[in-house]
Subunit: 444 residues, 2 copies
Amino acid sequence: MPSRREFLWTTGVTLTRAMAPALAAQAGEGTIDATRLRRRLEGLSRFGRPAGGSFADGVSRVAYSDADVAARAWLLDEIRGAGLTPRLDAAGNIFARTGGRADAPPILIGSHIDSVPNGGNFDGDLGTLAALDVLQAVASAGVTTTHPLELVVWAHEESTAFGRGTACSRIVGGDLKAGDLDQEWNGMTRREALRRIGGDPDRIETAVARPGAWHAYVELHIEQGGTLDTAGVPIGVVEGIVAIHRYDVTIEGMANHAGTTPMDARQDALVAASQLVLAVRRVAAARQGRQVGTVGRLDVQPNSPNVVPGKVVLSVEFRDLSPRVLDGLGEALRAEAAAIARDTRTTIDLRLASTNPPAPAHAGVMAAIQAAAARRDLQSRVLPSGAGHDAQMIAGLCPMGMIFVPSVGGISHSPREFTRWDDCVRGAQALLDTALVLDRRDSV
Amino acid sequence: MPSRREFLWTTGVTLTRAMAPALAAQAGEGTIDATRLRRRLEGLSRFGRPAGGSFADGVSRVAYSDADVAARAWLLDEIRGAGLTPRLDAAGNIFARTGGRADAPPILIGSHIDSVPNGGNFDGDLGTLAALDVLQAVASAGVTTTHPLELVVWAHEESTAFGRGTACSRIVGGDLKAGDLDQEWNGMTRREALRRIGGDPDRIETAVARPGAWHAYVELHIEQGGTLDTAGVPIGVVEGIVAIHRYDVTIEGMANHAGTTPMDARQDALVAASQLVLAVRRVAAARQGRQVGTVGRLDVQPNSPNVVPGKVVLSVEFRDLSPRVLDGLGEALRAEAAAIARDTRTTIDLRLASTNPPAPAHAGVMAAIQAAAARRDLQSRVLPSGAGHDAQMIAGLCPMGMIFVPSVGGISHSPREFTRWDDCVRGAQALLDTALVLDRRDSV
């Protein structure tokens, strides 16, 4: 294991050698209450838990569901119980602040509490409840900060409700188009959904924040991958949230009788699709780097055992920090698809359905996180976030950074999602220390 | 093109050289009424036609549906209008006979009129209405036969209703087990379904026929494949209905986040499934012969663009006249599956879900069909039936044979299913002539 100094210099981030120790020395006091943090994580886990289940059975707390509404009410009580005054914006996001000067922009910390169906108890929950604990710990330690510390609980982060690009943090980031509030999902419009959680869709534009509204934004989150767990490193310093290119692919062959159509007369759309699935994997693995390529959805028509498949619709997703790398992967896949279509006598329509730009973390926030980890003698490692987060919506408004803690076995979006309690506390403490490091700097 | 004599000797069936011309010479008279046959095919096509559609839009006339019930009523009227007296057995199969001696077992000819959803107007319909025309044509030509000619309209041939192995011809063949009538589909039991079409489930055992109940069974059907159409041969002489081995395959990997799970850490069930789909094709194509292998159904879980697939369930079907060939294909696939599971770190459970035995056609009936074709100077070709038919259920009761006519482009189970009107008439005439050839023989 490298020494505390060494690992700081080997993370690959552009820091001046003098920067990190200086930042660490400036950090104030305040200690996370491990018992309180765990009590709240277990308390929150009851909302959306399968009937008769336990903490280990995960949660289904989709945004705007009854479970979500009940969990938000519980959380508002916890915030009030901590001596804070919660405030809702028009998008249903919850804010609460403590300390600082009235003329100084707050340091924003938090995450979300909605989940995917059959999700786990750490994705979002940890970052939210750790941020609440940070506000309490700093206040009870009597630490005076220049900048108010502000908790945020972003409403509706997971793309289950209303699909991708509808998270409430996106509204704060200024992304709201005509008709968005009329979108329907699960028998309700987004307008109605926002009302369900106490938002005010008629004044939705008041939720948009101006650049500079915050001194910085820091989000603690579980890694959702296995890099930190495998390496035994407790603190991840996120260098950015990857860009995503998603393709909708339609393969047309010819549906025909599985008994009467000779092998050489077939135009089997599933044979073509299978070749494409393997091509996605080959293309993504063909170059050095952390890029990933996935076919996660695939639907066969008519999908009957005795009919040669006539049509397959599938999704392809590439992710990397560099959009240029993603363009290259898309081009390579197009070439493969053309060859597959020729060989299988099918047509393959490969359409770029959506692109998400990357959101680089701010070098100053990264340095503050590294300094905070160093202060507690915790090893840290710089890594990209392959998953999307609320942080990427806020990156345009203020310096943004994220702290990752290890996910056991890299499992997430599953009831088996787990982060060791010690790692939860280490992450929460790093969040507190990072906030105080950032507070002492006029400019992040 | 070979001469009329030559092709008879080159079809590969075991015939004595003397047999076919002798049979042809025995055939009597009687001519199919092409106008009447087409009128009936077009008349029947109205039942189950898409609203506002035409003949070219096909039919959805699933067994026991309102469309099927209405079509059967129309057909009963046509049968009565032809001067025949229809009779229903307890399974809802319709019979009607003409001519012959009371002590001679009838020659049974016919097919079915139910369809798959979005099916065509020839699968079953042609064989049924051609058989009705045969009875009329023979009667009106004043031909005296030893054996009565008996029309059958098998109820519920397609496996849409109640799934595979539930066709009403199967009941006649003696295959009925305890509980079968309690099976549920589409909100009704088989018992209720049989009542819908005039059957009598309380006396279902009376529908079972004794061996020798018929002198022979001959079914005219469209090929549903492209062999005859491609070769330009108007008459197919079916050598048998293939055996089917069907496997249910479950592949278990690990569902995980598509953004945070590195390529080399994945256990992607869809990658494994794709390799298996290609292995099925490779295995089926690896040996000489007409065997086919198909993955027609494939379901991904959780089937979300941003989740590495954790589980895939799929079907594999192999068909060939020889069960031994099918066993070999199954063994070869198991070996491939084991290698794929190792490579992808998944588990692949490959379970033989059902086996259908082959149903060889009777050499005497095949010879009669060849003779009938030769009599009209029509080229014929011996070929297997890759599709299942009512004929296979009756093969255990009496000598069985089938006549195929060309399917344009080999398309079937589709609104685009089509057989040229001339070919329909040629097939119907061959059915008539075959019946008369068989009538003149004491033993088929």
